[in-house]
Symmetry: C2
Subunit: 547 residues, 2 copies
């Protein structure tokens, strides 16, 4: 028996229309080099509809890929909506990818136009000749950088260069076409792995609508009209964790940080604009915390943090100084990205400070709307939910990728029954709360037993004389493979190997202790700021062979 | 271009599995005649799966209608999920319908089984012979009432009588079948109008999933794991406003009030169980307020109220006594029902107490996921959003009905372009905030101008000597039609007509003043507690003709 309810496509256009109709009076603030620019959603919505007209004028195909190469700004938000609301596909280019990766994804996605911040043109200019199908480059003047020569040196024909504001002022606002298929592509984002070419995830209107609605639920990020949201996480990667969409959908005010993501700049934005939600990766919050000392942070209600494991000491630092611990969340490009959020359960809020801090090292439960399972890598059976057994985390749901765009490697990442293999190793408590143990590729197998590199790193980074640490598995004459700690000393500190190893005693089992320590200047990072251990493994693979 | 995200049907089964997998430790409390019964979601989920087995054993068709005739209890919640999770269709029978309406809907829906509370069998027994296709009656022992004779006097063949607990204890828990089509019927509810036969709304898995997710967003009801939810609104009508589903989905604790909906009983449940959200119609909250005097109500975070206009004085009474005004919401059977919720905008929270109270007489904005428009009844054009012009409120969205079940009257209630005609007259502010002026059929047209009966009622009910008041349009020799106030005096008070009319002076325009007052013992109510003015109009239609 079929039901008799209306069947209205779930589209990004609905999000846009909420801001346009109901929240025209709310503001978007964008930080620029020398101050801030403000506009309200009414002006933003009008400009976004004009931008729809620009895409028509430029002759972008009905489902053409519209690429962006930009910081978090109000203009970037115009592109976030004008592309999908006209049926086109937003493609956010990660400005931190290697040049050859950028060339690959622009060509692979078949981008017809790139909208680029002027301050980023220096990165783009040398690559213009490699873009095969590009026809337009639209420059967004963000007040910094030069316009280099040779931008029109296209690979497959002439690239026409435009100025964003000139195009916009010549365009009329358009009515959106009706998006009748909620499975229509809305946007693309490529992964930022360290090996091989990036893989393309293609979000649908449906997936973005549901992911946004998820971000509005209390036990996820709880986005709401009264929020003032600072998305430090880049709009050029993984949808800025859904916060840009959620702000528009709920009418929350936005504070766009622009290019300056330094601790002092972000701290000033939080305080000056009474920010309620500020989301970023751990390294961001490490830099911001000291800058908030003595400041009025009473507006903050949530500090979502993910991208890599949130060190317990960082979350506790925020709790002690601000009265607000960090809200750990987990996800990846393939999960839109919000897949798990670590709120304490109501009965856990009575636990001791220590116990609560320990619980916050979890990533929490899979969010409503998605499903998670953790399976033994060998047997493929679900592991026991005992908080100790570990296995690979797999996900299923409407905002989880089903496939990569035109990519033969897809089969490696999805199970036969259609679940995403996340590549994360996890344990699960009896309540379904997930702790990430490691990436499958970073686990260390020593003497037949698995050792979590992440757990060791977190313990080492709690040492006051340590700035950062990465633990890698390297060859070992006796154990086959063994953990090696690559440690960055804190400024002015000079810890010894014995200091580090002694600090770990009693915190991890003896057989899990690193078999050695090497001192490094910094931990190599991926384009999105995650530890990249591949390079360390290459350099130090023989470091323990002399033992 | 199609997107590449997973396409997982949006089903009620997902809600169930959240409670089963993650919140087995959370509790459902059911009030009984002589205390409370408790069970946790783990036990509830197991019983619900057993109930699925019972439906199989009874031979209920794969998409058979499973009717309930019950109070708000944990057992009713088992039925809420066992029916749709096995692919069947839950049909909640409104225990307050007239007997002939019950006969009509049981037969019209083709109910195969009724699950009835023992305490309600007295209402059902005389009708058993009129149910044409009924094959099973399952009695749920709620500790009250007798089992009358003649229950098996079926209309179309033998009705077999069962005991719920006996059936359950003999059944094994079942795996749910896979619901592959999210548009599959999940449940039915008939409207409770005062004229003609009730009309059937058929909810889908998709509509219920999305409506539930909506109830979890902050700017709607904001259901969350830490909630303790008391749904005073009946599960037998309009899905208990989505709170039963939302509690299961979020793992919120539930307090089920059972049959005793008196002020003292509800007040005791709120205090004893540290309820955070309690939802009911205005008459419920009128009775509860005095009982909460001096009680510890610090657990309450929200008191959603709808079904009929929330008198300003009632909301202010809660604000003054509890520090928590009522949260006005609006919806109807056809809207699942949550369609609008009246949260103040962030910048309205700085307004004066008076101004805020005035804003709370609005029903707020249409909730995310649905659309609203207000059109001139004659021209069909949208009215200006000026807070004064009024027109008919129409809705569109995935949890709004598209049609009535097998009913020739459907065409009256939906526009050519598929929007629901709500029958409510509304104004809209420049921010899209809606105020209900009246039902289209209760508007009073006096001397060519429209007068809102609801506005007059609210003003009159603010008089301390008035218990209740209904304003109706009756024949008038000069004005064609004119407002007549039908007033119930407060206990022990004896106001005069001049007292009432004098009280209104300066509050409404002079030409809108009622042309007379009649004193009645109570305002007639519909089966769901709304004012039913049809009877009053019949009795008093000539009351002003002597003027």
């Amino acid at each position: 028996m079929q039901g008799l309810m209306q069947d209205v496509p779930l589209t990004i256009n609905h999000l846009f229309e909420r801001a346009e109709k109901y929240f025209g009076h709310k503001e978007i603030v964008t930080a620029t080099g020398d101050g801030t620019e403000r506009q309200d959603y009414a002006a933003w919505a009008r400009r976004t509809r004009q931008l729809g007209g620009v895409l028509d004028t430029l002759g972008i195909s009905d489902d053409g890929r519209v690429a962006t190469f930009a910081w978090n700004t109000a203009r970037h938000l115009e592109l976030y909506f004008a592309a999908p609301c006209t049926g086109r596909v937003l493609h956010t280019l990660n400005i931190r990818l290697f040049p050859e990766q950028l060339t690959y994804i622009v060509n692979h996605a078949d981008d017809e136009v790139i909208f680029a911040d002027r301050s980023l043109l220096g990165l783009l200019a040398p690559l213009m000749g490699t873009f095969e199908n590009l026809r337009h480059l639209v420059i967004m003047d963000d007040g910094a950088g030069e316009i280099p020569d040779g931008l029109d040196a296209a690979g497959g024909g002439e690239v026409r260069i435009h100025d964003y504001e000139e195009l916009l002022s010549a365009a009329e606002p358009v009515e959106w076409p009706e998006i009748t298929d909620e499975h229509r592509a809305a946007s693309m984002c490529y992964t930022s792995g360290t090996t091989g070419n990036p893989k393309g995830v293609v979000y649908t209107h449906r997936s973005t609508f549901l992911h946004t609605m998820g971000a509005m639920t209390v036990d996820s990020l709880g986005a709401r009209e009264s929020d003032v949201i600072l998305p430090v996480v880049p709009m050029f990667h993984a949808n800025a964790w859904g916060l840009a969409h959620a702000a528009v959908a709920t009418g929350a005010s936005l504070v766009m940080p622009g290019p300056d993501l330094s601790g002092p700049a972000l701290a000033a934005l939080i305080v000056d604009h009474r920010v309620t939600v500020a989301a970023g990766v751990p390294t961001i919050w490490m830099a911001v915390l000291p800058e908030l000392e003595g400041a009025d942070t009473s507006s903050l209600r949530s500090i979502p943090c993910g991208g890599s494991a949130v060190p317990r000491s960082l979350s506790e630092g925020y709790r002690e100084q601000l009265g607000l611990p960090i809200l750990q969340a987990w996800g990846m490009t393939e999960t839109s990205p919000i897949a798990a959020v670590c709120h304490l359960d109501s009965d856990q809020r009575d636990l001791s400070v220590e116990e609560q801090a320990e619980l916050r090292t979890q990533v929490g439960r899979i969010t409503f709307g998605s499903e998670a399972r953790v399976v033994d890598p060998d047997t493929r059976e679900p592991i026991p939910w005992d908080g100790e057994s570990s296995g690979e985390l797999q996900c299923r749901g409407n905002w989880i990728a089903a496939d990569y765009y035109d990519d033969p490697r897809s089969s490696e990442s999805f199970t036969d029954d259609g679940w995403l293999k996340t590549g994360d190793v996890a344990t699960v408590t009896d309540r379904g709360r997930i702790t990430l143990v490691d990436r499958t590729k970073d686990l260390i197998k020593s003497g037949g037993e698995w050792i979590s590199s992440v757990e060791l790193e977190n313990e080492i980074m709690a040492h006051p004389d340590v700035a950062e640490a990465a633990v890698i598995g390297v060859r070992h004459p006796k154990w086959g493979e063994a953990p090696l700690a690559c440690v960055v000393r804190a400024s002015g500190a000079d810890p010894s190997e014995d200091d580090i190893l002694g600090f770990l005693e009693g915190k991890v089992a003896k057989w899990q202790l690193p078999k050695g320590v090497v001192w490094i200047d910094e931990v190599p990072k991926t384009s999105v700021g995650k530890f990249s251990k591949k390079d360390l493994r290459e350099v130090y693979d023989d470091a323990l062979m002399a033992d």
